[in-house]
């Protein structure tokens, strides 16, 4: 009660308090009151508040001079917050509105002045749900695991024919590579990591180098290319 009296006194001393007026302008996000539902425009921690009417207007009555943060309490829509400065000039108190980004310092105020009476519009309708992942056969086929499986299956089936069509030299080469790889694998499986790794590296480098240096007149024999590459580096 004492507090109430004091507030009244404060109101009296500060002179004329002002009504902060504004309007929600309907836009594509929120078209009319029935979509918006019960909403309020409040200053600070609901120190002063006004309900939003059917036509979108609101009045926050009797606001004394000071700096406030205006926010719209609405269930489904996001509105911008505004910084409101009610200043007391000689006769008529003025209301200034500025944009405000939540989480940023209040001072210094933004240099942009917004029009008064305030005009606010819904920024965004809240989306509460995530869509459910639905099952479709194409999506399943597109997944990398399935693609790899299909590829592997194709290789199993197609390999014999491929090998048949290969020349004897390249066949020999392939055998060697395979032997190296299997050696590396068996070494790794046996727990001999060092030799396994080195074998693997060797196998990989042996495979990689020729492909990394593609030359138009690529000779078929690999060892020759290898030694030439090394020689060049020296």
């Amino acid at each position: 009660m004492a507090l109430q009296i004091l507030q009244t006194l404060v109101l009296l001393f500060l002179g004329i308090a002002v009504d902060v007026k504004g309007r929600i302008s309907w836009n594509d996000v929120c078209r009319e009151y029935s979509e918006l539902g019960r909403s309020r425009a409040v200053l600070d921690d609901e120190k002063f508040s006004g309900g939003i009417l059917k036509d979108g207007t609101f009045i926050i009555p009797n606001v004394p001079s000071g700096t406030y943060l205006l926010s719209v309490i609405s269930h489904d829509y996001l509105f911008d917050q505004l910084r409101i400065d009610v200043t007391e000039s000689e006769e008529t108190p003025t209301v200034e509105a500025r944009p405000y980004i939540p989480g940023t310092p209040m001072n210094p105020p933004s240099t942009v002045l917004l029009t008064y009476p305030l005009k606010l519009s819904a920024r965004q309708k809240f989306d509460y749900f995530v869509p459910r992942e639905s099952f479709n056969i194409m999506g399943m086929l597109k997944s990398p695991m399935i693609l790899m499986m299909i590829f592997a299956g194709g290789m199993v089936l197609g390999m014999p024919y491929l090998m048949k069509n290969m020349g004897p030299e390249s066949l020999e080469e392939l055998r060697k590579e395979q032997a190296k790889m299997s050696h590396a694998q068996s070494a790794l499986q046996n727990g001999d990591f060092r030799s396994g790794m080195s074998a693997l590296m060797e196998a990989v480098s042996g495979q990689d180098q020729p492909s990394s240096q593609p030359s138009p007149q690529a000779p078929r024999t690999q060892p020759a290319t290898k030694s030439r590459g090394k020689g060049k580096r020296r």
Partner: protein
């Protein structure tokens, strides 16, 4: 900074998005009860009324009411659904409302500070106008006094009377004129407006010696000029109840006779007296526009009195006498013909009789007995009537009843149309109780006696079902779905056998036992929100006293026996609860404390087997006010410990087992209690228990003070929050660099919120306080001073294990970098000064000097909304991370991942590799307001006051129940449902893959054998 913030917030968004609701789960995993509150029947002008919007030209009427929860609502009288509701702010209480045509107008706040009008059918607000500052409002009791709304007869003007002396005339939302009563000296308090085409009459009472005198002012409807002002020579002894304003007449009781004064613009009439018997009181039945009212004679019988051509005529004598439990109500049919009903409750025979009379159809009278159940609904508190005659000869009355247990019902003649349990809008305690497993009704019992032959015969008989079973099995195997964490928990009741409730696979189905301030206890099914049982609490020995009222003590509801404690047949012994209630009456100042012990599955008394129907009988504990109630729990038994204002201890059950247990535990128990000191300061004082023994067996325990929390001058203890004691899964946190922070797990911690005393609230240094205390010694573990918000301290806090979260409003914005806004602060307490320090805080004594050796890590975040409640999720073993659940003021229930409010988020730099290993993200001052974490989605959960959480059988999932005006229940899985098969798990895909692989083997096997064979040939 902002550039950095964007990817971080994106990351957090991604992190938090992972758990969100699917649209198809809404309404399956959760439920929401949209309530309006118990109709406020203290005044006629806030009580429920039936109204037909004339423009609609239909028979259909709607029920309008203002409620004690401060809601203006329209309800469909046919099915009881809420057509619309408008929730007012708590300090802006509705004092009166009035309806005409398609408009409802209300005045709210002290003295009627704000006028609002609504569209009757849609509830859309049309006007909101502040008439005076609430601070300058007239403070009188009852608070609706001196406020009135009247509509112009044909025009669309609205006239309001506020503060008992100001009349405003509105047209299209703008004030046309204002009239203020000039004379302060004569103390006239105006209370009613009556409008006619010629004048607006303002009627009030002027106080004179020992009585009141009627005063009438006639105003011009166009300009508000005073046409005439007159004091009607009258002596009214008792104030407002003794005069009525009819359409063109003021009627009052003077010395047991009814007098009237005709209203005319010149106020030149004379008062007349009704020449008849003596009367006791006048009853307004809402037919003032038809010039009708009820006068109750000194002989106890009611009379309908009508005004005909300026004369009062006695039109009907009611047959049954008027008692304090009888109600008169007036109603109109679709042709606006008046009807009057009298609901008479006989105190002796418990019958509820209804008489309906229609003045325009002389002699026609409907009379019937209402099959009204007193045991489940208490007594009637208000009656409103509507008449839905389809045939002019048959009076079809529709009665709306409000009851002392907080329900609203509509009866069409003898048939019950619907009941809304609006008492649920004022829950003051709620507890989850786990349900037992299903008792299969068919198996069991008969089987044990069945011999070998019998069994063989039965099983052979059952074989005929085998093929269909196999088909079903294979179908289920291939495509069937499994119970997931988001499947519905509700179980269809078997129609044949009435069964006790049982749980679902994951324990999402529990019973929520809740008590209301109206003295009723409900058992609510958590799977769908249905009421399983409800019981009225008895008033015990005060039953014969006038105005006896039972009020459960807030939050003193204990589960004394859980499913785990129950063995054997659940029919006989289900989980049990104990609840404490305070009985007050108008006759005596003392209050009784009663203890109710009931079965949570059925709502039956757990101790005595009594008649099922009557109100529950409580066990008398004490007639002294109680200080606090606790539940003491040992391995086997649970004992309720009550402390009265003299610090004497009462035990329930009061047997030797519990006495021994308490005596054993008493030396180690400490309780902090709030007490009001002689200077009026609310202090926190720690207590321990001592005992006095009179004889060998008789021991009397009582508490004695040991410490006092020293608060700064003028600080009061606002509330005491005992932390949730959930199982602690780990005692430390291993950091990225393989060091450990040991949690500060002092088991005696309590959270105390303080607020400045009302006398020192004006002090510029006044602040709110938050303390974490060791309740054994009273030492302060953590404290912080917070700024005062709007008027009072509105700090919301939750504490568990070593983690404290609080939310407050920070008004300070002048300093550099500061901003106004709500802040959410998270504090984690760890043992010692640095990592790897270990003090064993959960085990050592509170008196050890190591007890206060701790480090608090804290961080503050800007939170975009005000909140009305905060809680933390709780799970069965405490392994799952905890989410913060908050109820926002915009009617949303939202969760926050603990990861976002980790106080160790690196500030101003990117997290290094060790911190990324701990999933720490860079500090961003703004907590993201992710709408996908709003698990109350489209529901508008209005005025949530409390949040309680309960573990389910699934470790990953926690049940969240929110109550306030509305009830809302949902499931939350803070770390995803890791312990059940993911619902996006695709069984069809698995089956298809397996089939595909089988097919591949089928195809390749002959190829491989052929190849091998060929290899053998050609090698």
């Amino acid at each position: 900074m902002r550039l950095h913030a964007i990817p971080v917030s994106l990351l957090t968004l991604w992190v938090t998005c992972s758990v969100a609701l699917h649209e198809s789960d809404a309404g399956v995993v959760d439920w929401h009860k949209r309530l309006i509150g118990v109709p406020n029947t203290e005044s006629r002008h806030t009580s429920p009324v039936f109204h037909r919007a004339v423009e609609q030209k239909s028979k259909q009427s709607i029920v309008l009411t203002a409620t004690r929860s401060n809601v203006m609502a329209a309800v469909d009288p046919l099915d009881g659904s809420v057509l619309w509701r408008y929730v007012y702010e708590p300090e802006d209480n509705i004092v009166t409302f009035q309806q005409q045509g398609s408009v409802v107008a209300s005045l709210s706040g002290t003295g009627g500070a704000t006028l609002r009008t609504f569209n009757m059918l849609s509830g859309e607000p049309l006007i909101e106008k502040r008439l005076h500052e609430p601070e300058t409002g007239l403070l009188i009791q009852p608070n609706n006094l001196g406020t009135f709304i009247a509509f112009g007869n044909k025009s669309h003007e609205i006239y309001t009377l506020t503060n008992g002396r100001i009349v405003n005339c509105f047209h299209n939302g703008e004030i046309l004129w204002t009239w203020r009563a000039q004379d302060h000296s004569s103390q006239i308090l105006y209370s009613t407006i009556q409008t006619t085409d010629d004048a607006v009459y303002v009627v009030g009472l002027a106080s004179s010696f020992a009585s009141y005198v009627l005063h009438v002012v006639a105003l011009s409807p166009l300009t508000g000029e005073v046409l005439a002002s007159a004091s009607v020579p009258s002596t009214i002894s008792n104030g407002l109840d003794e005069f009525l304003v009819l359409s063109d007449m003021v009627v009052w009781i003077e010395k047991s006779s009814i007098k009237s004064f005709a209203l005319s613009p010149s106020l030149s009439g004379r008062s007349r007296t009704l020449p008849a018997a003596s009367y006791e009181k006048l009853v307004n039945i809402g037919l003032g526009s038809h010039g009708m009212f009820i006068a109750v004679g000194t002989n106890g019988f009611g009379q309908l009195i009508a005004c005909e051509d300026g004369n009062l005529v006695t039109s009907k004598n009611f047959e049954r006498p008027s008692t304090p439990e009888s109600f008169y109500a007036g109603g109109l049919d679709m042709h606006r013909n008046p009807y009057v009903s009298h609901v008479h409750v006989s105190t002796t025979t418990k019958f509820t009789a209804v008489e309906i009379f229609s003045p325009h159809l002389q002699g026609l009278l409907a009379e019937y007995i209402l099959p009204w159940d007193m045991n489940t609904h208490g007594t009637i508190t208000y009656v409103a009537m509507d008449v839905v005659n389809s045939d002019p000869d048959i009076i079809l009355g529709r009665l709306l009843l409000t009851t002392s247990t907080g329900s609203v019902q509509i009866w069409q003649r003898e048939s019950h149309l619907w009941t809304r349990e609006e008492g649920l809008a004022e829950l003051n305690a709620a507890k989850f109780v786990e349900l037992p497993e299903r008792v299969s009704g068919l198996t069991g019992e008969g089987r044990s006696e069945e011999g070998f032959v019998g069994r063989l015969v039965r099983q052979i008989k059952d074989v005929k079902d085998l093929p269909s079973y196999l088909v079903r099995f294979s179908k289920r195997f291939a495509t069937g779905s499994y119970e997931s964490a988001t499947s519905s928990a509700s179980v269809l009741p078997s129609p044949s056998v009435p069964q006790l409730p049982f749980r679902d696979a994951f324990g999402f189905r529990q019973v929520l036992v809740a008590s209301t301030t109206y003295g009723k206890v409900y058992g609510i099914d958590t799977s769908n929100g249905d009421i399983l049982w409800n019981r009225v609490l008895g008033v015990g020995s005060k039953a014969h006293e006038r105005g006896a009222k039972v009020t459960p003590i807030p939050d003193k509801l204990f589960v004394t026996k859980t499913v785990g404690d129950v063995d054997g047949d659940t029919l006989k012994a289900g989980p049990e609860i104990v609840l404490l209630a305070k009985i007050t009456s108008e006759e005596s100042a003392s209050e009784d404390i009663l203890l109710f012990h009931l079965n949570a599955l059925t709502g039956q008394d757990a101790v005595k087997v009594l008649a099922v129907d009557g109100p529950l009988e409580g066990l008398f504990v004490t007639s002294r006010p109680i200080q606090n109630v606790y539940m003491l729990q040992s391995d086997e038994i649970k004992v309720i410990v009550l402390l009265d204002s003299d610090l004497k201890v009462y035990l329930y059950p009061d047997d030797t087992v519990s006495k021994n247990m308490f005596a054993k535990a008493a030396t180690t128990l400490t309780v902090p209690l709030t007490q009001v000191s002689q200077e009026g300061q609310r202090k926190l004082i720690g207590h321990q228990f001592g005992s006095k023994s009179y004889t060998e067996d008789e021991m009397e325990h009582s508490a004695f003070p040991t410490w006092t929390l020293s608060l700064p001058d003028g600080q009061d203890v606002q509330s005491l929050i005992t932390p949730i004691r959930d199982p602690v899964a780990s005692i430390g946190k291993v950091l990225g660099n393989r060091t450990t922070l040991y949690k500060y797990l002092n088991p005696h911690m309590v959270l105390v919120l303080t607020a400045p005393h009302s006398s020192s609230a004006l002090n510029p240094n006044a602040h709110c306080g938050l303390y974490l205390l060791d309740s054994v010694k009273g030492s302060i573990v953590y404290q912080v001073a917070l700024p005062i918000g709007r008027k009072t301290c509105n700090v919301k806090a939750a504490f568990t294990e070593n983690w404290l979260v609080y939310h407050y409003y920070d008004d300070e914005h002048q300093g550099p970098g500061q901003t106004k806004g709500y802040k959410m602060v998270t504090v984690e307490l760890y043992e010692g000064k640095e990592v790897d320090d270990k003090t064993r805080s959960s085990e050592i004594s509170s008196y050890s000097d190591k007890m206060l050796d701790l480090t608090a890590y804290e961080q503050s975040f800007v939170y975009p909304h005000a909140i009305s409640a905060i809680a933390l999720t709780s799970t069965k073993f405490g392994i799952t991370s905890k989410d913060i659940i908050v109820a926002n003021v915009n009617g949303k229930i939202q969760s926050f991942s603990r990861r976002l409010v980790n106080p160790r988020r690196p500030v101003g730099r990117k997290p290094n590799s060790e911190e990324t290993e701990e999933f720490l993200v860079q500090y961003d001052p703004l907590l993201p307001d992710d709408s996908r974490k709003v698990f109350s989605h489209n529901y508008d959960v209005a005025h949530a006051r409390f949040i309680t959480t309960s573990p389910a059988l699934l470790e990953s999932t926690s049940l969240v129940f929110v109550y306030g005006l509305d009830l809302f229940l949902s499931r939350v899985a803070p770390s995803n449902t890791f312990d059940v098969l993911n619902e996006s798990f695709n069984k069809v895909q698995l089956v298809l893959t397996v089939i595909g692989l089988l097919g591949a083997i089928f195809v390749t096997r002959p190829m491989v054998t052929r190849k091998k064979l060929r290899e053998k040939w050609y090698q």
